[in-house]
Amino acid sequence: MRRTLSLAALLCALSWGVVSANTGVALVHGTGQQSDAYNDYWKSGFVESVRQGLSNSSNLLVVNCNFEKYMWDDAAAGCLAGQLHNFITSKNIDDLVVITHSNGGNVMRWILSNPTWDSRYPTIINNIRWVNAVAASSKGTPLADAVMQGNVFEQSLGWLLGYKSDAVRQQQVSWMEYYNGSWLLGTSGRPALPTGFWNIVGTDVESAIWDSDSYCGGYLENVGLETTQNWLNSCSDGFLNCSSQNGAGTLWFNDTDRTRGDEPLSHNQSRRQCFNLDVILRNDLYGASR
């Protein structure tokens, strides 16, 4: 409701010529170190479809950073801030829509929650219209707990069960509980984030071999995600419980409420051109950029 009202107000202002926003969109990937997120993390079909929502198609940024690191690390939030700040200032963006996926939501939330960390942060915050957080790991995942249980660092051996990245450690449920309560905004009882943080929640995984929808985003990946649902609640996207995906900010929609054919979005499908997700995100830009 609040989102609809905000958009309506913006559209109204646009129609009266009061606002002439220069809209841009930034896509922020999830865990991993990316050098070509356009092709490797999102895929060109998804990005190009979203881009169609911009009146100036060059106002697109696909972020490439190292999100294997903790969210506050220079290689993570520092890198993201650098790319966003440069994008905003070089293109005079004053109406930035940020689309995050998975742990990218946490890194973005770090910037929004800690405005004095870096002198670039206020400029970024002040020019964001809102964040569309797709499958955000706001409250961590039991999968990270499962792989860290019993995994201890020993000086002579390193990690006993093998190295897990800082990002995996950070996304343990009780670690995120600490960060949410102490360093991050937007969860229950905490101040809201200074910009809207709208969640798109993936509620299930389908991997039936006879169902063509199971092949969107990769059949084998969906099979894997259905497997790891064993560690999760019945409402989950194969990596995250729904409660984590909607743990900070505000629910925009649960996948099946808006997707084509009421299809659920697995954790892999929520960054692919599946079931009109790209069109929904495109229209979200389009409405305010014209």
Partner: protein, 387 residues
């Protein structure tokens, strides 16, 4: 009768282990020590940055600090290759438990060796209803290593897993491998008793502790009672140092306690963990791990005053670093208050006493009260004070 099997990640790794302790590794009861290296700083920026965030007056903002908690329906145990060849006992209180077997690195002649991955095909599970090969007895869902490394890169490396078929029920099982693993190889077996009512919870009354504080963690077992003398607890630093915690019966369950007199250095933002192992009177084991922040008291608030649109704060800085003050401002409406804004200010400070004046703005200051003041160490990531 079938077993529902899930091959998680089948990343092969060759075993070369020859010598190691073959006894079951218990949760450590002895403090371990090693030289702690100087931690790095997460933020070395010296410039002053301020920010005002307006709050929605209708928002329910909780003041003060909130404790941390975790609930576990799982446990794990480390076993040797010899034990796994003979059969390891597993206990579940619910059906369809998820079992994982992961090789544990061991030191062999000074070299870290990871034993061979044990795959579902190498495992046999025996329960009240019989003896079954985990892989051949049925495969409702299957994923190979490529699928899972694409799905969850860097997470389930070297792990094989399966779900005990509903038809095998719950209770006592024996898990055995037919693979020719070395006697001295070591494996961690995780049991996630997802459908059980027995869960172990841990909680603290606050999220962060400073050195010299006493850390107290309450433990409760829901759906069962603790078996007398079954609990062990330890505190583990991010760099692997382990410290035993004392245990006592508290008002509600068990209390694990430790005085934080050790070196509390840590890399910025990394959390310590409390590991508590327990067993119910019925023999159901549980392990819970709770993350807590333990930090060094690098600065403190000496005093503060909010008047005439100005927030004046004096801080004592022990260690040079970038510190942030957060003032939580509320509007006073008669006897009622509602959220107004959070005022942020951060800057680099050298050791010593510093007075900071943060203008709130005369225009906005009328009827505004300071409800909460926080001091945060941005260089080491610690919330030092909330008052």
């Amino acid at each position: 009768m079938k077993l529902t099997t899930l091959t998680l990640l089948i990343a092969t790794s060759l075993s070369g282990s020859l010598m190691a302790d073959t006894s079951k590794k218990a949760i450590p009861t002895k403090a371990t020590t090693h030289k702690v290296s100087a931690p790095s700083m997460a933020n070395k920026s010296t410039e002053a940055v301020s920010f005002t965030q307006q709050l929605d007056p209708d928002l329910d903002v909780a003041l003060g600090v909130k404790g941390l908690s975790v609930v576990s329906k799982s446990y794990y145990q480390e076993v040797s290759g010899r034990e796994l060849k003979q059969g390891v006992s597993l206990n579940t209180a619910g059906t369809a438990a998820v079992i994982r077997v992961t090789p544990v690195k061991t030191l062999v002649q000074g070299k870290a060796i990871t034993p061979a991955v044990i795959e579902p095909d190498d495992l046999e599970l025996t329960g009240a209803s019989g003896n079954f090969n985990v892989n051949k007895s049925g495969m409702a869902i299957k994923a190979n290593s490529d699928q899972l490394s694409n799905t969850h890169p860097g997470i389930f490396k070297n792990t094989a897993a399966f779900v005990i078929d509903e038809g095998m029920g719950k209770g006592n099982f024996a898990l055995k491998t037919n693979r020719g693993v070395a006697d001295n190889d070591r494996y961690l077996i995780h049991v996630f008793d997802k459908n059980s009512d027995v869960n172990l919870s841990l909680k603290t009354d606050r999220p962060a502790f400073a050195d010299q504080d006493t850390l107290v963690v309450s433990a409760n077992l829901a759906g069962a009672s603790f078996k007398t003398g079954s609990n062990t607890a330890s505190l583990i630093s991010p760099d692997g140092r382990q410290f035993p915690m004392s245990l006592a019966n508290g008002k509600q369950g068990v209390e694990a306690k430790i005085a934080l007199t050790m070196d509390t250095s840590r890399e910025p933002g990394e959390l310590w963990k409390v590991v508590l192992n327990s067993e119910s009177k019925e023999g159901i084991p549980r392990t819970a791990e709770l993350a807590v922040d333990i930090h060094q008291k690098t600065a403190s608030i000496s005093n503060h005053k909010f008047a005439k649109g100005n927030l004046s704060v004096t801080i004592n800085v022990n260690e040079a670093g970038r510190y942030e003050l957060r003032g939580w401002m509320f509007s006073q409406l008669g006897k009622r208050t509602e959220p107004k804004a959070v005022q942020y200010y951060a800057k680099w400070f050298e050791p010593g006493q510093h007075q900071i004046n943060i203008p709130i703005g005369a225009k906005n200051a009328t009827g505004i009260v300071l409800k909460q003041l926080q001091l945060l160490d941005q260089s080491r990531l610690a919330v030092l004070e909330t008052q």
